[in-house]
Amino acid sequence: MDGVLGIEEYLVVASILFCIGLLGVILRRNVLLILMCLELMLNAVNLALVAFARYSGNMDGVILTFFAITVAAAEVAIGLAILVALYRRRKSIFLQDLNLLGR
């Protein structure tokens, strides 16, 4: 419409959010927070997709976003279920305590 707000702005915001999420995944030790950061990354991609779709006038990107939201919800559900089950046995949700494998 007015054209002042370009796609670049959206993409910059999306990529910064993606990187924030990635940093969180790499740095945090709490599995709950890692899962949240993964969600952040997926959301960043969603923003980029919608922006691309809007600026090229193509619907497919938005539909892909729709599926991405579905997938993210499913992943979170499974992740939390595993986390709870693991917590019952190991009493910890920190990565440094989850080290049974590879010893």
Binding site: I7, F18, G21, V25, V31, I34, L35, L38, M41, L42, A44, V45, A48, L49, A51, F52, A53, Y55, S56, N58, D60, G61, I63, L64, F67, A68, V71, A74, E75, I78, G79, I82, L83, A85, L86, R89, R90, L98, L100, L101, G102
Partner: protein
């Protein structure tokens, strides 16, 4: 609304009979489980029947009714999927894997009193979505089916929920998987965005479709965004393959997952990844060959070295299989690179045949080895030191023979199928003039001989009588069980096929 009518009419569900039957079979299993009376065991009989029956149907279809399909491939579901003969072969392959997995897992589930119906339902659903994955011709379809496979595997890996090993493996797999799917999605978004807003030519009307992307990528092969998108997509797929840079999860998850699931993960999930990668690099991403070849070569080298060097020091055989699985992924990547290198000149089918044959020999051998491991596994099956196998040949010659043939085939010793697999890969790599990669491959194979052979040695050769008789260690009273008759027959069949394929495989290859 005419276009929508056209769209709707293009959905020919008849093409997907095997997938649909698998999905409904899974639903049936779940319903029966929900309505089941208290205290009655629900076995996997229905699942075996379903998967085995479909396999027979599929094979019979090609042997008797439709022996020479045109492999040109036909697009269906508005370009969502593309069916072709290679894809059909892979569909049979996944059905076979699912059947073997269900069969191998059943005794363990019964012994640990874990729900069986859900397990078989999940295995079937994973197989159905892998079958869709190899047919997908559209990034949206690829993403959705890839994620369905992943979610099935998250549950399957952590299925031994009484074991912290299994749960920990599931969590690690999930974190890595979610990370890689975010990266994959980012890559898809970049490709989509640049294609949709392509100003140089007519932007493709469906920028997620492989067919339409091909032309765009070829015209924009030096665009940074296209390359970054491709790299992200490949990084996301690398997780499925267990290749660098997403290989770190492999040993841990292979160790922690229930043994049958490890086999499924090692064979089916990896194969699906490779077929998708093959479709991508010879299809939509082919325009980037100058960029892809060095990138993938680097990945292949790191993967081969990581896998083989990592495996050298392992004494836990499940971890060892994990590391060696990474190494095998590296060899297969060499085949993929050869496919890119030769794509327009040589009919891609011959390269694809090399990859498929390698996958086939790898899966036969892996299922043999994992089958034996499953039979011998202690209650905590993440804990399998190599010493568990010492003098197996004296106690259970059949299992030892199966194991030795499987490991020999994985190591690529002639006259087993694995050798022919490696030979075919060598030939295509030579044809594509990948001399450096070949050198790395040969090095990897030699290192691999060491650790596979050490395991065979532990199994087959009698241990040395200890020199000083004073420290007579109390011999563990471990008498391995002979597997059930059905399982033994299947293991014998796998071994036999591994040996026979070393001698005769041509009529299979000619169909390609």
């Amino acid at each position: 609304m005419n276009d929508f009518k056209l769209y709707a009419e293009a959905n020919d569900w008849g093409l997907l009979v095997p997938e649909i039957s698998l999905a409904f079979g899974a639903l049936l299993l779940l319903c029966r489980e929900a309505l089941r009376k208290q205290g009655r065991e629900s076995g996997g009989g229905l699942a075996f029947l379903l998967q085995g029956g479909l396999l027979v149907y599929f094979v019979a279809r090609y042997l008797f009714f439709d022996p020479r399909p045109d492999s040109a491939g036909e697009s269906a579901f508005n370009g969502m999927i593309q069916q072709s003969f290679p894809a059909d072969v892979m569909r049979c392959f996944f059905l076979g894997c699912a059947f073997l997995t269900s069969l191998f897992a059943n005794p363990g589930l019964r012994e640990r009193r874990l729900p069986q119906a859900e397990f078989h339902a999940l295995v079937s659903l994973a197989a159905a979505s892998m079958m869709l994955l190899v047919q997908s011709n559209h990034f949206l379809m690829l993403f959705v089916s890839l994620e369905t496979v992943a979610v099935c595997f998250y549950v399957l890996v952590s299925y031994h929920r009484g074991s912290p090993y299994s749960l920990e493996a599931g969590l690690k797999y999930l974190v890595f998987g979610a990370l890689s799917s975010a990266i994959l999605l980012f890559g898809i978004a970049l490709l989509y965005g640049t294609a949709a807003s392509w100003s140089g030519g007519t932007a493709p009307s469906d920028p997620l479709s492989f067919t339409m992307l091909e032309q765009f990528v070829a015209a924009n092969s030096d665009s940074l965004a296209v390359r970054a998108g491709t790299a992200f997509v490949l990084a996301g797929l690398a997780f499925k393959l267990g290749a660098a840079p997403f290989q770190a999860w492999v040993p841990d998850v292979y160790q922690g997952a229930p043994t049958a699931v490890t086999a499924y993960l090692a064979v089916a999930s990896k194969s699906a990844g490779f077929v998708v990668l093959f479709n991508l690099v010879t299809g939509p991403l082919f325009g980037l060959r100058e960029f892809l070849i060095p990138l993938l070569s680097l990945v292949a080298i790191i993967t081969i070295l990581f896998g083989n060097l990592g495996a050298l020091t392992q004494t836990n055989v499940k971890r060892l299989m994990g590391f060696s699985g990474v190494a095998h992924a590296g060899y297969l990547l060499v085949g993929i690179i050869a496919a890119i290198g030769m794509h327009p000149d040589v009919p891609e089918k011959s390269v694809f045949w090399a990859i498929v044959f390698y996958l086939l020999s790898y899966s036969l051998a892996s299922y043999g080895v994992f089958g034996v491991m499953g039979v011998l596994a202690p209650t905590e099956d993440a804990d399998q030191p190599r010493s568990l196998y010492s003098s197996l040949a004296q106690k259970q010659p059949f299992l030892a023979f199966t194991l030795a043939v499987g490991l020999g085939s994985l190591a690529g010793i002639p006259p087993l199928a694995g050798f022919i697999g490696k030979l075919l890969l060598f030939v295509v790599a030579f044809q594509a003039e990948l001399y450096g990669l070949l050198a790395v491959m040969v090095m990897g194979v030699v290192i691999a001989i060491y650790y596979y052979f050490a395991w065979i040695r532990e199994t087959v050769f009698p241990p040395l009588p200890s020199l000083d008789s004073s420290d007579k260690e109390p011999q563990v009273l471990w008498s391995p069980q002979f597997p059930s008759l059905l399982l033994a027959c299947i293991l014998g069949l796998l071994t036999l096929t591994t040996i026979l394929l070393g001698f005769y495989q041509s009529s299979l290859g000619q169909s390609f």
